[in-house]
Symmetry: C2
Amino acid sequence: MINLLVIGTIAYDSIETPFGKVENTLGGSALHFTNAASFFADVGIVATVGKDFDLSSIDFLEERNVDLRGISIEDGKTFRWEGRYGYDLNQAITLKTELNVIDKFKPRIPDDYVKADFVFLANIDPELQLYVIEQINKKATIILDTMNFWIENKFAALIDAIKKVNILVVNESELREITKEYSLIRGAKKIMELGPSFVIVKRGEYGVFMAEKEGIFLTPAYPLEEVFDPTGAGDTFAGGFMGYLANVGEVNSDTIKKATVMGSVMASFNVEDFGINRIKGLKYDEIRGRYTAFKRCLHFEDIEFK
Amino acid sequence: MINLLVIGTIAYDSIETPFGKVENTLGGSALHFTNAASFFADVGIVATVGKDFDLSSIDFLEERNVDLRGISIEDGKTFRWEGRYGYDLNQAITLKTELNVIDKFKPRIPDDYVKADFVFLANIDPELQLYVIEQINKKATIILDTMNFWIENKFAALIDAIKKVNILVVNESELREITKEYSLIRGAKKIMELGPSFVIVKRGEYGVFMAEKEGIFLTPAYPLEEVFDPTGAGDTFAGGFMGYLANVGEVNSDTIKKATVMGSVMASFNVEDFGINRIKGLKYDEIRGRYTAFKRCLHFEDIEFK
């Protein structure tokens, strides 16, 4: 029985970084998300691939209780993305996007997925995000991601979708573009006035800013000697975040903060290798170990004042 | 009896930000540093000003036990800097620099300053930093700051100076330029091989990265709704940092981490108004209050693993 549903993309990515290059590696928001979330929750994926997709390449997810029946196989080719990073790994340069089967993606939610209490609407057309919201459990906790393209081209639909979700997850420039506020605090307040109770702002190597009505929570990113490939780090963060929430089954200030830390831990693994490779081979004990190391980087003794 | 010595600049700054502009406001590394550090330690300033400088404007520092006798008054005009910031307040655009009396600055350390156990070598010519190191207490804990100009024009002297100090404080691009390493961890390791035990990397609104032999410590910056004027934030950080260290009188992993947090707290005040204004009028209780608020932004309950 799945308790976490994701609607997003499955892709073949070709990536070049200062450390190497790879062609047609597994990627896409739904896959990065699920790869991380499946350590904590029973995930169901809704996505579409082309006839060229090698389904056996994601068999390993079934061993982590992932339900793959929501993946539709359509005539045509799988979505492809080609990108490059310089030393500033915060910014990808998109070299080529082939939408292929994604272009006609119309996410139908299988009956037994409808009851999931946690839902991740990955970065897709906000009209499709609204279409998904209509189909799912009205009590579900929904987190929504988006990108500059939808902010610029489907703004009204995006705002409608944001009004209907509990958590918005975006990066700094997306929050600024949506709210027309430079200040993250002011921007987050505007979002919360629309509906969401929590606004999560991803800042890449600088960590995460989270706003809720009671205040702000901040966490840096786990420090790595080298970031190898940042592709999918945001979706991996969301996977660790929502996987943790679905696992504890409660959404409040406390669990959201812990989920933010868990998302950061998972994202720190994702960037250590191309595509989904690092987390594909990850062991649960490594998650615990990194969490402990991360806590050590954040700890300081309380300061006594006169 | 001073226990913290600073060698740096006193300036008249003209600053424009998206929120307003100000002309000939008090500034300079030594003044920003002292303004913050004087809440915690007895500071002695070594700096130079011109005959046009209004000494009564810094009288308020004497009430915080600052020793101003190390300020030499020379024929000529006080150092002036003119700069502008856009919405990205991490990057200042220098419009004009008038060195004036700074050009012939040759820091002589007064006899009763020589015994100070803590010394901040603010961003000045590394040859002068070396000249100061010759004059001071051999057991002093020394922190050194610098800038791209010296990295590019006095690299050998800068490296000599770095070899003789305990703590290096720089921003990300400076660390990368000195070490030719993109990775902060690798860069910090190279610095520690030269001599310093601690490397502090200032990341503006994203907080601070600190490296020591035993590991990394990270702290975000205190979240403000608006950053009004970032000028002097780095020196204010150093002031809170060294002031705290001089106050506790011990330098180890624990105190360095707490000092990093205190530096961040003080820097968060500095950016709330032009120049030194906010911290000039600051009350000690406000420091305690902000520290408490800051801790709340960083706190999360421990995650339990299966």
